[in-house]
């Protein structure tokens, strides 16, 4: 892997260590707020929720995206990565920031959940830790963009390989979207935490956080989509249906991911209804790259299936090599993406959202999409990379068992969770009195959901155990990592599909049109700031 082997391995190792830490916390939360357990001290519950969310939202996916990005950079560009010291520094910043934030949480000084909506206020160390981790990831952004530009300069007129093109799109997306939460922390929260300001404007803080909150989901999603395009067709034994379609999808994700975040604030009073509608429309546009991807992937898989002898309308589906972890994970991921996407349409619809707003439906939705459809692809990516990074093969049957158990666990967790949300259970509560006749019908669903949490714990243990046990095996020769070839690989590409300059300007312009006024209005608002509410005694 062009000398990046240790770097990528360190990222994936750290990422899965984080996962192994955070998943049991999630299962414990599901248990203690279910009727299967007595109530616990809410402070302990919120410590666990904050640790679970901060780890799995900020640290784990960032580490996977960074590690996979380095692997893509080395393999797709076919030359050793430069700036390795910077890359290691970036990893240490992310891990140091994570440690700083999580130790603050563990000390009970930051029970603010990973969204840390003001006026809730945690110890400054928590925010500094998150900021440190984000700053670390910016070094990765810079490295990706730098390598992209260098390669393009050295290969004038040639198409940048799709894998690197998509990774750079993800890096740019993250750079732009993390500015929202970054400015919220730097300009609003930290001055208050340090005692420099006496009050904080929750409306402005929420608008700034929404700038990050939805695009971050697409940043989490990017490695999964990249794997769909550049790893899956080859693992299935076929070719990518269209290289250009992939580029268009990634450009659309870059453009449409960010000017849509206000759909998280549909019931917030500080934003006008017109802007909420505007963001709802643009949120709808995000379905386009997703549908393009599903079309391209299905077409690529059909090519593979037919090459393998599949016949008839659906015979090619059965002919696919489902024993391949990448193929199996992609199939399971697409199923969860379909279910979760349908729920997402309800969340993003200005009117329908009101029926599920702030209920468990929302939590169930993002667990199904991120924890299910996306994270299962992280596993598949790890199964592709791990043997090449360590030189040690992984047991095929156990990999499939792990993927199936993750899929089953996630469905057992999230489907009843959606139902409970539709029954009106609010999210973010530490306990519910199921002896109350109004809540009693929810009890069975919550209990079921809690059982799924422990299936996910077992699946996580299986994953980590498998990766660790691989070191006891002998080193064997592993085929090098290769990315899928398109049926018709582009020999040259128009500027619009081979670079980001104009698109980044478009992203900035849409930020101004969709966010400019609400932010300016919140900045100009007088009398909307309140005293912060410190957590953790």
């Amino acid at each position: 892997m062009q000398g990046s082997r240790k770097l990528v391995l360190a990222h994936f190792g750290a990422a899965f260590a984080m996962l192994a830490f955070a998943i049991p916390l999630g299962a414990w939360q599901m248990l203690v707020r279910s009727p299967l357990h007595r109530w616990v001290d809410p402070e302990r519950y919120y410590i666990a929720v904050t640790a679970h969310g901060s780890t799995l939202a900020y640290i784990f996916p960032t580490l996977v995206a960074m590690g996979f990005g380095y692997a893509v950079c080395a393999v797709a560009l076919g030359r050793p990565m430069r700036g390795m010291a910077m890359a290691w520094l970036s990893l240490w910043l992310v891990l140091g920031g994570a440690a700083m934030a999580l130790l603050t949480v563990a000390g009970g000084k930051a029970t603010v959940l990973y969204t840390f909506y003001p006026p809730l206020l945690a110890s400054a160390w928590y925010y500094l830790g998150i900021l440190c981790a984000v700053a670390g990831s910016w070094i990765w952004v810079w490295l990706m963009v730098w390598h992209f530009r260098q390669w393009k300069r050295d290969h004038a007129g040639l198409p940048v390989p799709l894998a690197m093109f998509a990774t750079t799109a993800a890096a740019l997306l993250w750079a732009w979207t993390s500015l929202g939460v970054g400015s919220e922390i730097v300009f609003l929260i930290l001055p208050n935490a340090f005692g420099w300001t006496s009050s904080i404007d929750p409306g402005l803080a929420r608008v700034l956080f929404s700038w990050t909150l939805h695009a971050i989901v697409y940043f989490w999603l990017m490695p999964a989509y990249i794997a769909f395009y550049v790893l899956l067709p080859q693992a299935a034994g076929g070719r990518l249906y269209s290289d250009r379609m992939g580029r268009i999808a990634f450009l659309q994700l870059l453009v449409f991911s960010m000017p849509i975040g206000l759909h998280h604030l549909f019931t917030d009073p500080q934003v006008g209804a017109g802007f909420k509608f505007l963001h709802a429309v643009f949120t709808g546009m995000v379905a386009v790259p997703t549908l393009l991807t599903i079309f391209t992937i299905c077409a690529s898989l059909e090519i593979a299936g037919r090459l393998r002898g599949g016949r008839g309308l659906f015979g090619w589906v059965a002919a696919l090599p489902w024993q391949q972890p990448m193929v199996l994970a992609s199939g399971l991921s697409l199923l969860m993406l379909g279910l979760g996407g349908a729920g997402g349409l309800i969340n993003m619809s200005y009117a329908m959202n009101a029926t599920v707003h702030n209920t468990q439906f929302v939590t169930a939705h993002f667990h199904l999409i991120f924890g299910g459809a996306v994270v299962i692809m992280y596993f598949a990516i790890a199964y592709e990379l791990w043997p090449r990074l360590t030189g040690r093969a992984l047991p095929s049957a156990l990999m499939r068992l792990q993927l199936w158990s993750w899929f089953a666990g996630m469905l057992i967790v999230t489907l009843p969770w959606h139902v409970v949300g539709l029954m009106g259970q609010p999210r973010r509560m530490s306990y519910y009195d199921y002896t109350d006749p109004a809540l009693a019908p929810q009890a069975i669903w919550v209990a079921l959901s809690a059982v799924g949490g422990f299936v996910l714990v077992l699946s996580t243990l299986l994953l980590v155990g498998m990766l660790l046990a691989s070191f006891r095996r002998g080193i064997s020769v592993q085929p090098p990592l290769r990315f899928s070839l398109a049926i018709d690989p582009p020999r040259s590409l128009p500027a619009s599909l081979n670079g980001f300059g104009v698109w980044v300007v478009l992203v900035a312009a849409l930020t101004v049109t969709n966010y400019g006024f609400p932010i300016a209005q919140a900045l100009a608002a007088r009398g909307s700031a309140v005293a912060a509410f410190p957590t953790g005694g």
Partner: protein, 286 residues
């Protein structure tokens, strides 16, 4: 292998895509800021310009100013520190002397009324009695009967009266106990008391009137006169009584059916006063 040196032909995709996104932006803006507000403005709505301003997030200043100018506060009583100090320092003995002069005629010397249309006052919270007396005096609550009695009384007089009645032993333990144990309460009424009906915006009675929670000046209801409770809920529903701050009770009473009002009045009239949790399980029926 490739023709890397030749510059690619002019790329029309930029224009097409940016044009499409700009068109989408214009269409969504037109729909979100003009068309939908126009539809929602309606015939009796806020008017088109105000609706557009509202969509942008700028409620029309003129409309708001007019609304504020025309609005009357529902009550002149505010729960400031001064009000609370006045109540805390009130003299029940002096209040008893004032009460003997006129109040006892209707509300009873022990604060328990003979006529179901007059409320029992014994054991009622100071804040609740004080607020109603002030509202009668200021006319925020219909002063037709009570206005004449309180017009000449000072703030101190009113607070002393409140302290006097609050100090009287709660009524009905002898009268109500037997009834309460026997009176069957239907599940729908109990549900309103304990849980309200969120789909109709009805908060649980017990959340403000106890025992789950007590908010400032929310009166104790257990052992109150049944007819009085019915009349007041109906008056709140019709808006004839409108001295509840933030229209809290009007909003709830409007949602209640006549049957529910009757059920709630019967429930609270029969509930034994004096116990914090008056709803013993034995009175519940399904």
């Amino acid at each position: 292998m490739t023709t890397g040196s030749r510059p690619p032909p002019r790329d029309r995709r930029f224009a097409v895509w940016i044009g499409s996104i700009a068109a989408l932006l214009v269409a969504a803006t037109a729909a979100g800021f003009v068309w939908l507000p126009a539809v929602q403005a309606g015939r009796d709505g806020p008017g088109l310009w105000d609706a557009i301003c509202s969509a942008i997030g700028l409620p029309s200043r003129d409309a708001r100013a007019a609304a504020v100018a025309g609005a009357e506060p529902p009550s002149n009583v505010a729960w400031t520190a001064a009000t609370q100090q006045l109540l805390a320092g009130a003299n029940p003995g002096r209040g008893a002397a004032l009460a003997a002069a006129s109040c006892n005629g209707c509300h009873g010397p022990a604060g328990v009324s003979d006529d179901a249309i007059f409320p029992n006052l014994a054991g009622q919270s100071r804040a609740s009695i004080y607020k109603q007396l002030q509202d009668f005096k200021s006319g925020r609550r219909d002063p037709a009967v009570m206005g004449g009695y309180v017009a000449a009384l000072s703030d101190r007089d009113l607070s002393d009266l409140a302290a006097h009645y609050a100090a009287l032993p709660v009524p009905g333990t002898a009268r109500g106990q037997g009834q309460a144990q026997q009176a069957p309460v239907d599940a729908a009424t109990l549900r309103l008391v304990d849980h309200g009906d969120p789909m109709r915006g009805i908060a649980a009675c017990a959340a403000c009137h106890g025992p789950m929670g007590f908010t400032a000046a929310a009166p104790r209801l257990e052992g109150q006169q049944r007819a009085y409770l019915e009349v007041q809920l109906e008056a709140l529903a019709s808006g004839a009584r409108h001295n509840d701050i933030g229209a809290q009770m009007r909003g709830i009473a409007r949602q209640l059916t006549a049957r529910e009002i009757s059920g709630l009045a019967a429930y609270y009239a029969a509930a034994p006063a004096g116990e914090t949790d008056s709803r013993s399980k034995s009175t519940r029926t399904k």
